[in-house]
Subunit: 150 residues, 2 copies
């Protein structure tokens, strides 16, 4: 797998992170532990809800994207974590059995002024089911730039 360097994160570059299959049992187990609202854990309650069916917790959806991002980008990059971001959105519910396409787009990349060994990459995370956007987030990733050890 080609290594990625900070300079490879050029604004506008899109990384296709492949597809993610939403597993029913894992989705429900996650919800039982972290987000046990009726529409995430109870089939009948979910049918009567705004979602119209058992829907994934938004944090499960975000976590699925994260795994695709680690596998597709971070595992071959000098990733140093993230301080956070400015947007997180779940514009449509995610259901068990969904196949979601994960992507990451570089919006901006700059070296930290105070620490040239640290690169800050502002990026947009997305998950689509066919043409429908089901998850979007904009946040900042920190990367080593190679200018000294961070």
């Amino acid at each position: 797998m080609t290594q990625l360097h900070f300079d490879d994160f050029t604004p506008g570059r899109v990384f296709d992170l492949g597809t993610v299959l939403v597993d029913h049992d894992e989705m429900v187990a996650f919800a039982h532990r972290f987000d046990p609202q009726p529409f995430h854990v109870d089939e009948d309650a979910a049918k009567a809800s705004l979602f119209g069916g058992l829907a994934a917790s938004g944090w499960f959806t975000a976590s699925l994207w994260m795994r695709a991002y680690v596998d597709g980008v971070l595992a071959r990059s000098p990733s140093l974590g993230s301080p956070g971001g400015e947007e997180i959105a779940w514009p449509a519910p995610v259901f068990a059995g969904d196949e979601l396409r994960a992507a990451m787009e570089v919006l901006e990349a700059r070296r930290s002024r105070s620490r040239p060994d640290l690169g800050l990459v502002r990026l947009r995370a997305t998950l689509h089911r066919d043409d429908e956007l089901v998850f979007r987030s904009v946040f900042t990733g920190m990367f080593g730039t190679g200018n000294g050890a961070p």
Copy 2:
């Protein structure tokens, strides 16, 4: 447990969601599945990282807050899910064994103009370790207002 209605979400109201203990094994298992970066899964790599020790995935931290929010607020409210939010931040790393205090503050509450049965509550989520903020998010929750079934 007292039921909460949409009208109980008044701007400025703070809900103390109690404390959450960060379990080492669960934290690492979560990272192995969703965010297997070295500083989340490998003690030695983590010590050499910016975090200085094995740190929780930010999505695990967010999920811990979510569970406290469900237990403390959503389980006794007409929650209808969330479309997303405008901020997510991990200003300091979270470590195994940490005891974190969870809270939710109402920033704004309004009825949807087009759907008076739907209430939108803008809120700030926080997790603190003693006085140190380790997680913050601002997002919108949807709630039934009681004006007809949503």
